[in-house]
């Protein structure tokens, strides 16, 4: 049997690679690594898979042991999530069933579980709050962070290193530790359960992250570009907009995604500092109550729905993210 050393690989190599990396032994190693990666990924995805399945299960399927992998899917969970219903008394139930009339799909579904739709639930409103609060705070923290990062990167500031560390230190604190003082503070300011209160809170929390991340990206942009522009007759601000900004796009995209994910998923502060008007989706979803306790299928459906926008944004920006995440890692 001719060994690899004598004949080389069976198919020609097309990408740049070392000789020892195309050795069959190396290939085995690669296969093992791939298999391991798939297994670990699968294990990590299991909670998400369970969630997706639960969103489409009926109440009975969810609670009866053992957990069912194969089941008859239903849109009950979404019904519970998006509508406000009342349970029909047995006599009313009989009457409705006997006299269906013109019912749409959802009304029929409600009937099949013995309930009647009264109107839409609060959830849509809560979802809207999430969008407003997360979106606004992300935009603010990225914009403010950009200017601050530029200043830290380009200007001589007294105590710069100390200031930067201070900014970073705000992230070292677990948010829950300050919830009570914040609650009291907000009460005094009248910001409890207001959009503005939440926006400001999220902006401040994200600012430290965005300043640090963006500073890393701006550091990577050679200062010669701006100096050339200054010499050519541009002001610093103009040089910033025309030269630095276009080159910082990757970093801005990455920072936006990270800030958005934090603000969108934030639970603890939302739970403690909002009740009705400014409540966002995460606490709403977690506390969905049904007649017999937590309405699991609604929770799962809500989580699924909540997950999708962020997943889409991340997917669309994945190239920028990849470049962004690795780029900022090497600091000068």
């Amino acid at each position: 049997m001719a060994s690899f050393e004598e004949t080389g690989p069976r198919t020609p190599v097309v990408e740049p690679t070392r000789v020892d990396k195309v050795h069959p032994r190396a290939k085995w190693g690669k296969s093992i690594r791939v298999i391991l990666t798939v297994i670990v990924t699968f294990i990590m995805i299991i909670p998400v898979l369970v969630m997706i399945m639960t969103a489409f299960k009926s109440r009975a399927n969810i609670v009866t042991p053992p957990p069912k992998v194969l089941f008859h899917p239903t849109l009950e969970g979404f019904l519970y999530l998006f509508t406000d219903r009342s349970v029909l008394s047995p006599s009313n139930l009989e009457a409705e069933r006997a006299n269906p009339g013109d019912l749409n799909y959802w009304q029929k579904l409600a009937l099949s579980v013995g309930q009647k739709i009264n109107g839409p639930s609060d959830y849509v409103g809560r979802l809207k709050n999430s969008v407003i609060i997360a979106g606004t705070s992300t935009v603010l923290s990225v914009i403010l962070g950009l200017f601050a990062a530029y200043a830290f990167s380009r200007f001589k500031i007294a105590g710069k290193d100390d200031l930067l560390f201070f900014i970073l230190s705000t992230r070292m604190l677990p948010g829950v530790v300050v919830t009570i003082p914040l609650f009291l503070l907000y009460k005094q300011l009248g910001w409890n359960d207001t959009h503005i209160g939440m926006v400001i809170l999220y902006t401040v929390f994200n600012l430290s992250f965005s300043v640090w991340l963006l500073k890393g990206f701006i550091d990577e942009i050679p200062i010669e570009y701006e100096e050339a522009a200054l010499v050519d007759g541009y002001t610093r601000l103009q040089a910033f907009f025309r030269i630095v900004l276009p080159q910082a796009v990757n970093g801005i995209a990455a920072t936006t995604v990270f800030c958005l994910i934090f603000a969108w998923n934030e639970y603890a502060f939302a739970l403690m500092l909002t009740s009705e008007k400014a409540r966002t989706a995460p606490p709403s979803i977690a506390t969905m109550l049904g007649s017999g306790g937590l309405e699991w299928s609604a929770i799962a459906a809500g989580s699924l729905g909540f997950l999708i926008p962020v997943a889409i944004v991340t997917f669309v920006l994945r190239d920028y993210l990849l470049r962004g995440v690795t780029f900022g890692a090497v600091r000068k």
């Binding site: 004949t7 080389g8 690989p9 190599v13 990408e15 740049p16 690679t17 070392r18 000789v19 050795h23």
Partner: protein, 365 residues
């Protein structure tokens, strides 16, 4: 004995032909230089010899052994990189000792060999320092020492002087060559600088666009370039190449109405190979032209460069072509002056304008 043989070695990256199939035999103890502009395939070829890159076709033989698919560490070669690649956390001494220690040599052998190499390169004074504390030149010497200490069958060097300042490059160049003269180890050296190649190479392999253009000694590639690329690339400045029309022993050049009478020795060759009216390229080196008020040819001054002990005058022949002539630097020439000159008939060369290949003179009986 450490001969290196490349048989039809080629490299493709997808559709890109980085190195077209080439054959090369390197003799034992030879200092061979792979020379060419960026992207010509020289570094890829070197990396294939070392095993840092796989071949897409062909075989590589070291001392009669087929090493094409051997692990880089099993080929008995040492690689010197452009950017030193020294371990920053080890002292210079430890860096140099590393390859031997990795091979499991005894303590006495390691110390003895490191000592030898350190004396050779005169780096006793940097042994305790870390690479980060050393100058570029010293770092490169440590990198060389690390390669030398193993006494491999062959040295492969990838533009080792590229990262150094201009004046340093000169002295390191002669140091490396002196080392080679003493040790006589087979060396394959890659560079884009033709001055380095000429100064150091026993033979030069001129490469361009993934293919070998010419293999020869410095004298051969300088005096008898086999095509326009080699003629232009070797020499600073390169050979002057002017296109003209050949007819009846005379070449007519566009622009300043220059007519060049082909010397006797070339007449029969050109008559045989060229039809009247076909294009031909005249080649001559800057030092083979002589400024002469009654010179046959004329050009207009474009720029003049003082170079130390001599000067180079740049003349335009027509809109597109600039030629260079070596002169004494005592005479200043303002721009746009008309200057007449002659070409030494012994040093004139002719090239086919279409194939770009050089014509060979007839060997006289």
């Amino acid at each position: 004995m450490s001969t290196i043989e490349l048989r039809q070695v080629e490299k493709k990256f997808g559709d890109l032909h980085a190195v077209k199939p080439l054959d090369l035999t390197i003799q034992d103890g030879e200092f061979i230089v792979l020379l060419g502009p960026s992207g010509c395939g020289k570094t890829t070829t070197l990396r294939m010899i070392s095993g840092l890159e796989t071949v897409s076709g062909g075989t590589i033989w070291l001392n009669g052994r087929n090493v094409t698919w051997l692990h880089p560490s099993e080929r008995d070669i040492a690689f010197v990189f452009q950017f030193y690649a020294l371990y920053p956390h080890l002292t210079a001494w430890k860096n140099i000792a590393f390859p031997l220690q990795a091979q499991g040599e005894s303590r006495e052998t390691v110390e003895k060999r490191v000592d030898e190499v350190v004396k050779l390169l005169q780096i006793e004074h940097v042994l305790k320092a870390h690479p980060g504390q050393l100058s570029g030149g010293d770092q490169q010497r440590v990198a060389l020492a690390r390669a030398l200490v193993r006494r491999p069958a062959a040295f492969l060097m990838d533009e080792p002087l590229g990262a150094l300042d201009a004046d340093f490059r000169e002295s390191m160049r002669s140091e490396i060559k002196r080392l080679h003269v003493l040790q006589h180890a087979t060396t394959v050296y890659v560079t884009h600088d033709q001055i380095e190649a000429m100064a150091m190479g026993d033979r030069i392999v001129v490469m361009s666009e993934a293919a070998i253009q010419q293999i020869g000694t410095p004298a051969e590639v300088y005096n008898d370039p086999s095509n326009l690329f080699v003629a232009r690339f070797i020499g600073s400045p390169g050979m002057n190449l002017i296109t003209g029309e050949y007819a009846d022993g005379v070449v007519q050049m566009a622009g300043l109405d220059n007519r060049y009478a082909v010397p006797q020795e070339w007449q029969s060759v050109l008559k045989k190979r060229l039809d009247s009216g076909s294009e031909i390229v005249i080649g001559f080196r800057p030092e083979s032209a002589q400024i002469n008020d009654r010179g046959e040819l004329v050009g207009k001054v474009y720029a003049s460069e003082m170079q130390g002990s001599s000067a180079v005058l740049h003349l335009t022949i027509n809109e597109n072509e600039i030629i260079h002539i070596r002169t004494d630097r005592l005479i200043p020439y303002p721009i746009d002056t008309l200057v007449h000159f002659d070409i030494n008939p012994q040093m004139i060369r002719f090239f086919d304008a279409k194939t770009e290949a050089a014509f060979k003179p007839e060997v006289s009986q």
